[in-house]
Amino acid sequence: MKKLGLFGVMAALLRREVSVALRQKGEVLTPLVFFVVVASLFPLGVGPESALLLRMAPGVLWVSALLAAMLSLQRLFATDHADGSLEQMALSSTPLGLLVAAKALTHFLLSGLPLVLMAPVLGLQFGLESHSLGILMLTLLLGTPTLSLIGSIGAALTLGVRGAGVLLSLLILPLYIPVLIFGAGAVEADAAGLGIGGHLSLLAALLVLSVFFAPLATKTALRISLE
């Protein structure tokens, strides 16, 4: 029998998560459809005034993306917890923090990345210019992995708790505020012709911090939930 290194184990987890998600297409499509529906409701609700839509666009698109990314968080560890796979991961000789990081990466690939790709289409409804659409994609590309990583802490803390969905939202939404402010702020600044370097740097800093600290916090939360 061949031996696997750390990356081999993480690759096995990534393959597993992606193949399971592709067999349960509804779970991948739900956040995307939610994103499209919510972002499309605003123009219908506030009317066709282009200046107002343009001003609202960054905030609306970012809040919609944030809520959509949160939809699938509850299931991040729940299925593995219910069937016992999470115990096996916790007892693996591979550090649980690395497995958690791999789970967050798959969450980004399956929930966050489709939102990044869909965002410019929705941005057109609000009259965003092509450059701002590019900035919107860039901010989402930097921001949605942070959402997945921070969200994984909440998913681990609420594992097995009744009414976990609501509790998860209450725990995680306040932590999402900096990502929302700098993400939407960058698009708004670009639309106003201002510099966006600071916003992007802060988004990148949040991502780096999340990459280092979120898996550790999630690992600890998971061990507590499994006790």
């Binding site: 061949k2 299925t79 016992g84 096996q88 991961m89 000789s93 006790e227």
Partner: protein, 174 residues
């Protein structure tokens, strides 16, 4: 390990695995507390609890490959076929787990033992949902593991002969 329902057999096994905290005392592995050598200990440990640890949307082979990967192993396809045949689920490798019966799922879960290279097996009610043939097969596998110098901590309500090795019985009382 024997004892009435609710006496704490599963809790004790989870402590042995390091999944549950210990209020007093310590658990040693090679004369060292397990919490101070968790990485080494986990390499030596294979735990099968009440749950089968099988993802329903994956095939039997995919599940076995994944759980082997968690232990740092990559079994060959022929090994998977042999193990499944040994456990009486021959030809089910490409079948989704959700299409198996409870007994077959348990057999697939237990077939992980044959792929495991861990020295210590911790098994919580492994004979549940197994027919007579399955019980014998599992008992022989455990006997073979013990014969190779391995260890097994098992809870069971059934009295099963495991080879010629006399087990040490521990009865928990409330």
């Amino acid at each position: 390990m024997a004892g009435a329902n609710g006496v704490g057999k599963t809790s004790l096994l989870r402590m042995v695995c390091g999944l549950a905290p210990i209020e007093s005392g310590q658990i040693l592995w090679n004369d060292t507390p397990i919490h101070s050598q968790s990485d080494v200990y986990r390499q030596d440990l294979c735990y099968l609890g009440h749950l089968n640890s099988l993802q329903e949307s994956m095939t039997v082979n995919e599940n076995l490959v994944f759980t082997a990967a968690l232990a740092g192993n990559a079994p060959e396809p022929t090994q998977l076929q042999e193990v499944l045949a040994h456990f009486g689920v021959r030809g089910r490798g490409e079948q989704l787990v959700k299409h198996l019966s409870q007994g077959q799922k348990r057999r697939v879960a237990l077939s992980r033992l044959a792929l495991s290279q861990a020295r210590l097996w911790v098994l919580d009610e492994p004979f549940v949902a197994m027919d007579e043939k399955g019980v014998r097969m599992l008992a022989d596998l455990i006997a073979s593991h013990l014969g190779k110098g391995g260890l097994a901590v098992i809870t069971s309500h059934q009295q099963v002969d495991i080879g010629t090795i006399a087990p040490q019985m521990l009865e928990l009382r409330a």
